[in-house]
């Protein structure tokens, strides 16, 4: 079956009334889970897994997949409205999305997030449909040294995540890196910086830290203004993106999609990493990067496109090789196995209705999500009309419930509150949270891939410079660090010469 007839067949499977219902239910649940902070797609899919035992395999997989990419749509909503990332993949959206909302442009931000998601999700699907096999072979080229070099590249982009002082951004990144080392050593299981606290053995969770640094800190910040009585009233100007918004966001969407498309294929990469890289790239290529962090629409369009493209393309290694590139798809793999279906090279041959049905349902799902999300925008925007006195305590309540829901653990609430206070203090003194979060997310991957690489080479550092992909990424990141310094020195030199 070639790609076109396969797709037509897939659409016919996905458009069967019962399957259409599953697409809708999955997308709806996904949006809901995305909107609620804390509980993420992994927890939701695991809990729903037993329910799907009774369903036909096509319906079950369609619904569970719908939850996964639906979450990527919904996660941006609270990021934009109240600075609380609904999922880790939506942390970056807070940076400009929330600023847009403060300027009364929540509608355009939500709109561009939804359209960007649709565009990227669909583009990712086209890639999945046409180039699944060659792409998955490329993904296999990435071993520990390549990942290490790639993450190093991520680190070299870290200062692009802040709009203020670069040195302060570096300080925050270092703190994030140190914090990511807390917990049991991934290789020897020895305690590091746990102070004997059992709850720290697994390390500090990303979600409570992100919710604390962004959402809770914002609430604390507003308590200050609330008591002083000077509440700025947000005037809501428009509900949909204007022509100018589109023009500005157009290429950001394309670039975000490209980044997400590629990083989604890599096992261990995925949507979270994609959002950070996409944002940093966007700022790097922008004509006036100082707009970022102050409500630039590209800062919403690019990460939101990236996480949806990554969600689509992460199905590539999953469906063609049976490799789940992230935890969500690992749970989904379990669901496939329960129904006796083995994802892998033989899936298309043995179960065409599953493969093409899933692909077809994802095309439909992306449309469903846009239809589901667009009418909701005016409703969401109304949230901002709620008086701050009521809104912010509510936000805090949602964060508390959300943090608890991750592991049913009160400790996560404590972590969130501590980072809320830290975030509030940092903000007062001009330190930003984003570089900390990025370093915190990258830290563990950085470490294990470094140590794995050295295990592979028996301790020789040459492994990072003798493999073409790793070498390329190393040179590129070195360039990213050296070039601005060179430029700066050049300017100074000229200055003294004159």
């Amino acid at each position: 079956m070639d790609a076109l007839s396969g797709l037509l067949y897939g659409l016919s499977v996905a458009l069967r009334p019962e399957n259409l219902l599953f697409v809708f239910v999955g997308c709806f649940l996904g949006t809901l889970i995305g909107v609620l902070p804390g509980i993420g797609p992994v927890g939701a899919i695991s809990i729903l897994l037993p329910v799907t035992f009774q369903l036909a395999p096509t319906g079950a997989t369609i619904m569970l997949a719908g939850i996964y990419y639906g979450v990527m749509y919904g996660g941006s909503t609270t990021s934009i409205l109240v600075n609380v990332p609904g999922e880790t993949a939506s942390v970056v959206t807070c940076l400009d999305g929330y600023q847009m909302a403060r300027q009364g442009r929540a509608g355009p931000a939500l709109g561009i997030a939804a359209f960007g998601s649709f565009f990227a999700g669909t583009a990712g699907l086209i890639g999945l449909q046409l180039m699944a096999n060659p792409l998955s072979r490329i993904a296999l080229k990435f071993g520990p040294p390549e990942y290490f070099a790639l993450i190093l590249l991520g680190f070299s982009l870290i200062t692009h995540l802040s709009y203020g002082s670069k040195s302060k951004a570096c300080v925050m990144a270092l703190i994030g890196l140190i914090l990511s080392g807390v917990g049991l050593d991934p290789i020897t299981s020895r305690e590091r910086m746990t102070f004997g606290i059992l709850n720290l053995f697994e390390g500090i969770g990303v979600a409570p830290v992100a919710m604390g640094l962004f959402g809770v800190a914002e609430v604390f910040n507003n308590f200050g203004t609330l008591s002083s009585g000077s509440i700025e009233k947000i005037r809501i100007t428009k509900l949909l993106p204007s022509k100018l918004d589109w023009l500005q966001a157009k290429w950001a969407m394309v670039r975000g999609t490209a980044v997400g498309f590629f990083l989604g294929i890599l096992p261990g990469g995925g949507p979270v990493l994609a959002t950070f890289v996409a944002y940093a790239l966007e700022k790097r290529v922008a004509k006036n990067p100082e707009r970022f962090g102050k409500g630039a629409i590209e800062g919403v369009a690019s990460p939101e496109s990236a996480n949806n493209a990554a969600a689509s393309t992460s199905f590539i290694p999953f469906l063609t090789l049976g490799i789940p590139p992230n935890v969500v798809l690992a749970v989904l793999l379990g669901a496939f196995m329960i129904h006796g279906i083995v994802p892998g090279p033989l899936l298309i041959r043995d179960h065409p209705e599953i493969f093409w049905g899933l692909v077809g349902s994802m095309y439909i799902g992306n449309v469903v999500l846009v239809i589901l999300n667009l009418p909701l925008i005016p409703l969401w925007v109304q949230v901002l009309r709620i008086p701050s006195k009521i809104l912010y305590p509510l936000v805090l309540l949602f964060c508390l419930v959300g943090a608890f829901s991750i592991n049913n653990n009160v400790f996560d609430i404590t972590v969130m509150i501590i980072f809320g206070i830290v975030g509030w203090l940092c903000r007062r003194y001009g330190y930003e949270g984003a570089p900390l979060i990025l370093a915190f997310v990258l830290g563990p991957m950085f470490e294990v891939n470094f140590r794995r690489s050295l295990l592979m080479s028996q301790g020789s550092f040459s492994i990072f410079f003798t493999r073409p992909i790793a070498l390329g990424a190393m040179i590129f990141s070195l360039g990213l660090v050296i070039f601005p310094i060179y430029k700066l020195l050049g300017k100074r030199f000229k200055g003294t010469a004159c």
Partner: protein, 333 residues
């Protein structure tokens, strides 16, 4: 006077006896009436949602729900290689039999066998095992059509290139890591142990040629084996597994290595034996029905019932293995 004193004493004695009898009766009554179907059985799974341990837990939860006729609620409490979950189970659980732990060798064992982990519990002291229900042997797989055609090939290569042959496991001191340690010991080689906590990363590293062998549970290998991406060389069990047809045991090739994940149920010490017996009987009853076997088959988990006693004996054996490995590690450092 004397008689009066005697009577008083007798009275006290009688009263005590009555009290003790009543207490005993209450005790037996509560155990005999277990399970109270209006109550909820809380099941602790000491790992996050998703993954083998969680799946095994959720499967047995639905079995218990049917057999005992009561609601079973699963609580996932991951972290610290089961240490966080088990610690919380022991602090929250009473001895009334309404809180049960999904135990899992060797994962539940490793934390308390390693003194550096400072676990506050020890199985023999704190947990009574009721029954073992699921069993998944470890196995070793390589990329199909690659350098290695047999376990002997792999071992020979490891002998010829000490430290250069790399094997994957999902984390330190879990069953697949231990199977690698035991193979190293049995064959006198040093296959480098590399950890990938996500199953996908493990398989990608193998297929991409970045590592040489994947050590894993049988249910993680079924898919790749079926689709022909990987080839399972040997299974580390006494008998071949139905999940991996055609794969011989390592023992039959001269490497005496046995390692598996064995899933079971445990209660806090002090729980009446009668309750444990009810649970044991319920699982044994269910295991004879096609429904349980079929549902377990779907996730590739073999049903293997061990009575509480057998499971305890098996558990002690694994404790010794883990203990030896921990000691070996300590000596090395």
């Amino acid at each position: 006077m004397k008689v009066e004193k005697c009577r008083k004493r007798f009275g006290v004695l009688l009263a005590t006896a009555v009290c003790v009898a009543v207490l005993l009766m209450v005790g037996t009554v509560s155990a005999a009436s277990w399970p109270d179907k209006s109550k909820i059985l809380t099941m602790y799974v000491a790992s996050g949602a998703g993954g083998g341990s969680d799946m095994a837990g959720r499967m047995i939860a639905s079995v218990l729900e049917k057999e005992l006729g009561m609601k079973v609620v699963v609580i996932n409490k991951g972290g610290g290689g089961s240490q966080i979950g088990v610690t919380e189970f022991l602090s929250k659980s009473g001895t009334d039999g309404y809180t049960v732990l999904c135990a899992n060798t060797p994962v539940t064992i490793s934390p308390y066998m390693d003194p550096a982990r400072k676990a506050t519990y020890h199985l023999g002291k704190d947990i009574q095992l009721a029954v073992g229900y699921g069993f998944s042997p470890c196995a070793v797989a390589v990329k199909k059509g690659g350098k290695f055609k047999s376990l002997k090939d792999l071992v020979e290569a490891a002998k010829a290139n000490p430290g250069k042959i790399k094997g994957t496991a999902s984390g330190p001191m879990v069953q697949n890591d231990l199977s690698m340690v035991l193979l190293n010991k049995a064959a006198g080689v040093e296959i480098a142990r590399m950890y990938f906590d996500q199953q996908g990363e493990q398989r990608a590293a193998l297929l991409g040629g970045h590592v040489d062998a994947e050590f894993n549970n049988d249910f993680e290998l079924i898919g790749g084996n079926k689709s022909g991406e990987i080839e399972t060389l040997a299974i580390f069990d006494k008998t071949p597994a139905v999940t991996l047809p055609g794969v011989k045991t390592a023992e039959s090739m001269g490497y005496n290595v046995h390692m598996a994940a064995a899933y079971g149920l445990g209660f806090k010490t002090g729980t009446p034996q009668e309750i444990l017996d009810v649970v044991e009987a319920a699982v044994i009853r269910a295991s004879k029905k096609a429904e349980m076997v079929e549902s377990f088959q779907k996730i590739g988990l073999g049903v293997k019932v061990m009575t509480g006693k057998e499971y305890r004996a098996y558990w002690t054996g694994i404790e010794n293995v883990v203990g030896d490995v921990v000691k070996g590690m300590a000596v090395k450092k």
